[in-house]
């Protein structure tokens, strides 16, 4: 999966509320009907990058298994970014599909 797409997916699943890293991976997995599997090797670098950009914030909380864990929350900037990127992604896929079908 391209890293830009992963960022987009992370932002998208965080729109419904704060999640911790593992839950983000799980949510993507479920939402894609088990088609996409996010490895921790790509998830955590992507999360660090998003944190640096200021699209999410992180705060420590307690997990469902009563363990200390970091929850990521979408910021206003992240929301804007998500909308912009989703629109762009839409345009691009539609364009690619047009070409694929016509050829």
């Amino acid at each position: 999966m391209p890293s830009g797409a992963l960022v987009l997916l992370i932002l998208r699943v965080l729109r419904s509320g704060p999640l911790h890293g593992y839950a983000i991976a799980q949510r993507i997995h479920t939402l894609s009907s088990d088609a996409l599997r996010v490895e921790e090797g790509s998830l955590y670098p992507a999360l660090q990058k998003i944190l640096l950009k200021g699209w999410v914030t992180a705060a420590w909380g307690t997990s469902e298994t009563h363990r200390k864990v970091r929850f990521y929350t979408l910021t206003r900037n992240g929301m804007k970014q998500l909308e912009a990127e989703a629109a762009q992604y839409d345009r691009q896929t539609r364009a690619i599909q047009t070409i694929l079908r016509s050829a």
Binding site: Y22, E39, G41, Y44, L52, G54
Partner: protein, 832 residues
């Protein structure tokens, strides 16, 4: 911007963030474990990948590299010390040269607001003059609105009662000291009141003259002195660190308004015939362009009042005035710059080969590091970091060494006290740049070669040695040329008598003499001098031998630009100076058109014709050659190419005349009698009397000093280059120990071993020598144009430099090569 702040935040707290990441990922694993079956990667590696996003990894690595570099240096302190020393010498030489240039040219003079001071020159189509008539200066001062102050200065030599030589006096405007922020060392400086017509004449002492002549006695303030026989009160001594604006300090400072009081017949204040140097300080908000525009308008206005004295379309062009004028010294700086860069090149080449040689012993370490996963880029970065650490240390050493050397030079040459050798930001920046440049030069190539594990190819090393050989060769040859030039100047016959000649310079024009008065004066002086027992012969010239005055006419001879030194003399001159007349006749009184040329000029100008009777044009005069005299380089002692022309002095040259007298016995004994005779004619005039041989020896000493300085540079370069060759041969012997062992076991003689060892370097050294000779020939061309006029094709200088070089390099190579001969075949074969 925010992102940058966050990055810095991460950088500062990276340990905490790292722990948090660890914690988070551990949780992820726990969850994955309980929900079954995700394959795990290496946790540490995954964390590193995440950290990469913070963008601080390079800093961590750099820190690692630094620590590693320091470890490596501690392991081999001998190598480190040698490397830093070589580098410090190389950088130190460039730093010393640059500081000198910075001090003299780049730094403004230590006066108040030097940036707003402009020095003005007169310009008109086809004419320029560095001096502005004082009356024009006064007019500009009165009317210019863009200039907040106008300063002026003119130099003169006034005789001082009781002093042997006439000390220099600078006549300045009353605002000079105040405007430049000068402080008195003792007493007071000039104020506007001192310039009032009814004010008593006053002078201020220069600090250097106060120390040398008055023994730094503060009580001299308030006493009176006699300058040109006129009484004057010493009102103060200027502070030691005051530089003035001309870059040198006079014995006395006086006021322009009093010029006429001291100098009999002065017209400085009354007409436009003589000028002063003019400076202006820009007023608030004024730009140099505005000042120039205003002065051009004022000049036009002044021309309406004095049409004959101000030129048509005259403008005054301003240039930065707060800096010491560097006339003629630029080529000297260029030469020194070229020489010190050569030393730096030798040092870098040397260090490069040292590093390469050391790289061989680190091959195992490098192999190990690459085996455990270090990439080539990482290894190069590591090695380059080590070079950088060396460069920083060399840089510090060089900075210290350079300033120390410069301070030493300044003390030994009695540099002006206002020159401050302390390194400023320019010097430090320069040193850092040199350090970085040299770390690239000496560090990058070996780093690449080592990291790629190709050290068996010796191309890089060969080139580095070649550079050293060539550079040190250039330095040695140039030194050789200068030494030879000095030798020649000192040992060969200059072509004229100097041992028994006394020169008397009355400087009549500076004291307002007209041609008619000058004629009477000179006749009187000649008669008195002839009356002194021991004087054999006496004559006149406008350009005293070995003096500062010279008159030249540029000419194309043999396709080269050459200066013809023109001597305006009386017919007796050649006889007095014992310059032989080779052919034709001497100059005759009344024959203004006849000239006598030197043999060298005759040979160059008319290679295939008889010069006698040939026309010779100078300016717009047509002259005829009537005689040929021997070569006498009396105005350019060190220049074997100097050519001379003698012609009769005309009426208008009389005020410029100097008397030369040849004596039968030692000149020292007669000098007091000469002074007494010369001082007795005009009480306002103290002619300068000096022995020609003193001047001759001083000239020779100057040439020798230049040769010595370059020789020292050459020897330093040679020593560094020898060190490099020594290291190279030692390395080569170590590398070939096994081979040498086998060959010795098979019966090779020591001679064979040495021959095969030397065959590796022969090409490099010969190539370097050839390059060096070519470089030296090029540099000598430059030198010849600007300096002592040395001969560019001086086989002895070239050959002796090359022989010296070969001997030194041979000895340096032989020392480690002896080890090769002591190799024990049994031991050699057993080692791996």
């Amino acid at each position: 911007m925010r992102e940058l702040l966050r990055r810095i935040h991460y950088l500062l707290n990276r340990r905490r963030f790292d722990d948090e990441l660890k914690e988070e990922m551990a949780f992820h694993r726990e969850m994955a474990d309980t929900h079954g079956g995700v394959p795990l990667g290496d946790a540490l590696r995954l964390r590193e990948d995440s950290r990469e996003a913070w963008g601080v990894m390079w800093l961590d690595r750099f820190g690692q590299d630094l620590r590693y570099a320091f470890q490596a240096m501690r392991r081999s302190p001998g190598f480190t010390a040698a490397a830093v020393l070589v580098l410090a010498v190389g950088i130190g030489a460039t730093v010393a040269a640059f500081s000198a240039f910075n001090m003299a040219a780049l730094r403004p003079l230590p006066v108040r607001d030097p940036e707003t001071i402009l020095r003005f020159q007169r310009h008109a189509p086809g004419r320029t003059s560095t001096e502005v008539p004082y009356r024009a200066v006064a007019f500009y001062r009165e009317h210019a609105r863009t200039l907040s102050a106008v300063l002026a200065q003119t130099a003169s030599s006034l005789s001082l009662k009781g002093a042997e030589r006439s000390p220099s006096t600078f006549f300045v405007t009353a605002n000079f000291f105040d405007e430049l922020g000068a402080r008195p060392g003792h007493g007071r400086l000039f104020t506007a009141d001192d310039a009032r017509p009814d004010a008593p004449p006053a002078v201020v002492l220069g600090h250097g003259f106060w120390a040398s002549h008055f023994g730094s006695d503060p009580s001299v303030v308030g006493t009176s002195a006699h300058l040109n026989g006129k009484a004057v009160t010493i009102i103060g001594v200027v502070a030691r660190e005051f530089s003035g604006l001309a870059g040198d300090a006079p014995a006395f400072w006086a006021l322009v308004e009093h010029h006429g009081y001291f100098v009999h017949g002065s017209r400085l204040l009354t007409d436009f015939s003589s000028g002063v140097t003019m400076w202006g300080r820009l007023g608030p908000g004024a730009s140099p362009q505005m000042a120039e525009a205003e002065l051009a308008a004022l000049a036009a206005e002044l021309r309406r009042q004095h049409p004959g004295d101000i030129w048509e379309d005259e403008r005054l062009l301003g240039e930065p005035g707060g800096y010491a004028p560097l006339t003629g010294a630029t080529s000297m700086f260029a030469l020194v710059g070229a020489l010190v860069l050569l030393i730096l090149a030798v040092a870098c080449g040397n260090l490069g080969s040292l590093l390469l040689a050391r790289g061989a012993s680190r091959r195992r370490e490098m192999a190990l590091r690459s085996a455990i996963g270090a990439g080539t880029g990482r290894l190069i970065r590591q090695l380059f970091t080590e070079s950088l650490v060396l460069a920083v240390m060399g840089c510090l050493g060089g900075l210290a060494l350079g300033s120390l050397v410069l301070k030493g030079i300044m003390v030994s040459t009695e540099a002006p006290p206002w020159l401050d050798p302390t390194p400023d930001w320019r010097v430090v920046t320069f040193a850092i740049a040199m350090g970085f440049l040299s770390s690239v030069l000496f560090g990058l190539a070996p780093a690449l070669q080592i990291a790629r594990q190709k050290q068996k190819k010796t191309v890089g090393r060969t080139m580095l040695i070649g550079v050293q050989v060539a550079s040190s060769c250039v330095l040695l040859i140039v030194a050789g040329l200068l030494v030879r030039a000095a030798e020649r100047a000192a040992s060969t016959d200059p072509g004229f008598e100097y041992e028994h000649v006394i020169v008397v310079e009355p400087s009549l024009s500076e004291h307002g003499y007209t041609a008619a008065r000058a004629r009477t004066y000179i006749q009187d002086l000649s008669a008195r001098l002839r009356g002194i027992a021991g004087v054999e012969d006496l004559s006149l010239t406008s350009t005293p031998p070995l003096g500062d005055r010279r008159m030249t006419s540029p000419r194309q001879l043999d396709g080269r630009a050459l200066d013809v030194y023109i001597h305006q003399v009386d017919p007796q001159y050649l006889t007095t100076m014992k310059i032989p007349l080779l052919r034709g006749r001497n100059l005759i009184e009344g024959d203004d058109r006849g000239v006598v040329v030197s043999e060298s000029l005759a040979r160059r100008n008319w290679p295939d014709r008889d010069p006698l009777g040939q026309p010779f044009k100078t300016g717009n005069e047509a002259l005829t050659v009537v005689g040929i005299a021997g070569n006498a380089r009396s105005l350019a002692l060190g220049d074997p190419d100097a050519v001379e022309l003698y012609r009769l002095a005309r009426e208008r040259d009389l005020t410029e005349m100097t008397v030369v007298a040849r004596t039968s016995g030692p000149t020292e004994a007669l000098a007091p009698a000469f002074s007494a005779a010369a001082n007795g004619i005009d009480p306002n005039l103290r002619p300068r009397v000096h022995l020609l041989k003193d001047q001759f020896h001083q000239n020779v000493r100057e040439i020798e000093r230049g040769a010595l300085a370059v020789s020292v540079l050459g020897v330093i370069a040679l020593a560094v280059a020898c060190l490099g060759v020594l290291g190279l041969v030692a390395y080569s012997v170590a590398q070939h120990t096994k081979e040498i062992g086998i060959r010795m076991a098979l019966g090779a003689r020591p001679g064979h071993i040495l021959a095969s060892l030397s065959s590796q370097f022969r090409g490099t050294i010969i190539g370097g020598l050839v390059l060096g000779v070519l470089g030296a020939a090029g540099l000598a061309q430059l030198l010849r144009r600007e300096l002592y006029g040395l001969s560019t094709i001086d086989p002895i200088a070239y050959i002796s430099a090359i022989i010296l070089f070969l001997i030194a390099v041979g000895l340096a190579a032989l020392w480690p090569a002896r080890r090769a001969l002591r190799v024990d075949p049994l031991v050699a074969l057993r080692c791996d």
